[in-house]
């Protein structure tokens, strides 16, 4: 069996976001890009499964040359092979999913891990879309994963609890924080990853279903009132919450 992990290359969560000159995307100047945090859980789960079953793993990323950094990180953690679907242009979720589905099919993977969302566009949909395009089963937002033969059992997070979901391979699973504790790349892994070839492929062109017409800043929130510096300010705070804000 082959396992695929789809990874994206995103601004660090500590990054300040500025709007670019086109008014439709971010200004990348001064922004550090990292492996999407949720994809680290996806990579780890692929590695754990590989260690248990001895299968082959491949990491796939769609984007520009910079995404190779993220693919290298996946290789350094222990993924066997990496593929960059090279496309510098903006793609919406469904056209990303189409390109990924094509590659997953070409790879012949039967189990695919995604992070539950990329922390750039925050859509949380590409894994589910890809599964439908492939005709694979899918569990999103998984906090546990167990594979027994071809049977897949996961717990997924929902409002106020968890759903226990059963399905079977071939399957897509999207990883939520808590699924596992991602390993650090070893020095040996980092050195080995440097020597590995990252395959480059041209994904099929796809027109965008969704177009960004503008990117803007959220309305600035004004700093409010400092009510006091110790517990003597509490009655006034409670009065303000009751009488001014009317929220308690």
């Amino acid at each position: 069996m082959k396992i695929a992990v789809c990874v994206s290359h995103v601004p660090d969560t500590a990054a300040k976001i500025n709007i670019g000159a086109d008014g439709k995307s971010i200004d990348p100047a001064g922004v550090t890009f990292v492996v999407n945090p949720y994809d680290e859980f996806a990579i780890e789960e692929a590695l754990k499964t590989k260690e248990k079953l001895g299968c082959e793993t491949v990491a796939i990323s769609l984007g520009g040359d910079a995404n190779k950094e993220t693919l290298r990180k996946a290789l350094a953690m222990g993924i066997d092979n990496a593929v960059l679907l090279k496309d510098d242009s903006y793609r919406d979720s469904l056209s990303v999913a189409k390109a990924l589905a094509e590659e997953i099919k070409a790879q012949g993977a039967e189990l695919v891990f995604f992070g539950k969302q990329s922390v750039d566009y925050d859509n949380s949909v590409v894994g589910q879309m890809t599964s439908e395009l492939l005709g694979f089963n899918c569990v999103s937002v998984a906090v546990t994963f167990a594979l027994d033969g071809t049977k897949v059992t996961c717990e997924r997070e929902i409002e106020g609890g968890k759903e226990v979901v059963e399905t079977s391979l071939p399957a897509v699973v999207t990883a939520q924080k808590g699924l596992n504790e991602p390993r650090y790349a070893s020095l040996k892994g980092i050195m080995a990853a440097k020597k590995k070839e990252i395959a480059e492929k041209q994904p099929a062109a796809s027109s965008n279903y969704v177009e960004v017409t503008a990117m803007k800043r959220p309305a600035a929130k004004q700093a409010g009132k400092i009510v006091g510096t110790d517990s003597s300010a509490v009655p006034e705070l409670v009065r303000l919450l009751r009488e001014e804000a009317k929220v308690i």
């Binding site: 969560t13 500590a14 976001i17 439709k24 971010i26 945090p37 949720y38 979720s93 469904l94 922390v119 750039d120 925050d122 859509n123 949380s124 949909v125 590409v126 589910q128 879309m129 439908e132 569990v139 999103s140 906090v143 997924r156 997070e157 929902i158 409002e159 106020g160 759903e163 226990v164 979901v165 059963e166 399905t167 079977s168 965008n208 279903y209 969704v210 177009e211 017409t213 503008a214 990117m215 803007k216 959220p218 929130k221 409010g224 009132k225 400092i226 009510v227 006091g228 510096t229 110790d230 517990s231 300010a233 509490v234 705070l237 409670v238 303000l240 919450l241 804000a245 929220v247 308690i248």
Partner: protein, 321 residues
Amino acid sequence: MAKFLVFIEQRNGQIKKSSYEAAKVAAETATKLGGTVEAIAVGGDITNLDLLGGYGVSKVNHLKNDLYTEYSPSAYSEAIVNFVAENGFEILFFGASAMGKDLAPRVSAKLDAGLAVDCVALCVEGTDIIATRPVYAGKALVDLKINSAKKVFALRPNVFSAGAPSEAKAEVSVVAVAAPNLNVKVVEIKKSEGKIDVAEADIIVSGGRGMKAPEHFAMIEELSQLLGAAVGASRAVVDAGWRPHAEQVGQTGKVVSPTLYFALGISGAIQHLAGMRSSKYIVAINKDKDAPIFQIADYGIVGDVFEVMPKLIEEVKKIKA
């Protein structure tokens, strides 16, 4: 005349609040564009479906089978996709709840329809629907236009108001479905007993590293119980293992917009602020006057959280007595 369809989420036969919100917004949008609005509910027995008329839905299509009682991603998405294809619906609305976010992308991929998920505003410009949604956990917003013939919108819960329903009743049509596709099925639901989820809470009481130790969250739990609030946590305390990840607010946790948010011993890292800045009122208690949280707080106390909290609990007890 555009045909709109709203997905109605049910749990235990009860309609979720986010579905009323989606119905209301779909109806308002359809009025502006000159369209009709029907709803689709998938489940076993579901109560009050006719009341959706009060939110502007003319007809509710209830796809019924006892095997639909619990959520099944494969069964629900297949049923919706078939129904949409057979009946020529063009514009679909979902609430972007856990179920909606799981379903909407499946339906969108199957229908070859563009998807705008987690929308926080919707407006009609000419014949286009422009959806606004947060990106980078709310550090920026984008306006989106869907270019495909079929379009899917999923609305962030708790942002749009469903308002009070009118007296109108919707026609309820029961559609029997013979053999649901149960390739993926929910076999059990494990509830977090007696806890309110941060994603659904009106009030959130959150603690950060300034709480100093996990046992000090007892104060946060006490205050949240008094207020009927959910307990939230910063990434630092979740990573330290003091609190479960389900409580984490921020870019790698949940993005929330409650009416009232208490940030206690939270300095306000950019990734935390991104997750809660759209709260209506923010109260911060922190001993560092330069903490970034004070830049967005409506009310602040620059002081020792351990000295202020007991008094706050006492005062809230008084007003709740």
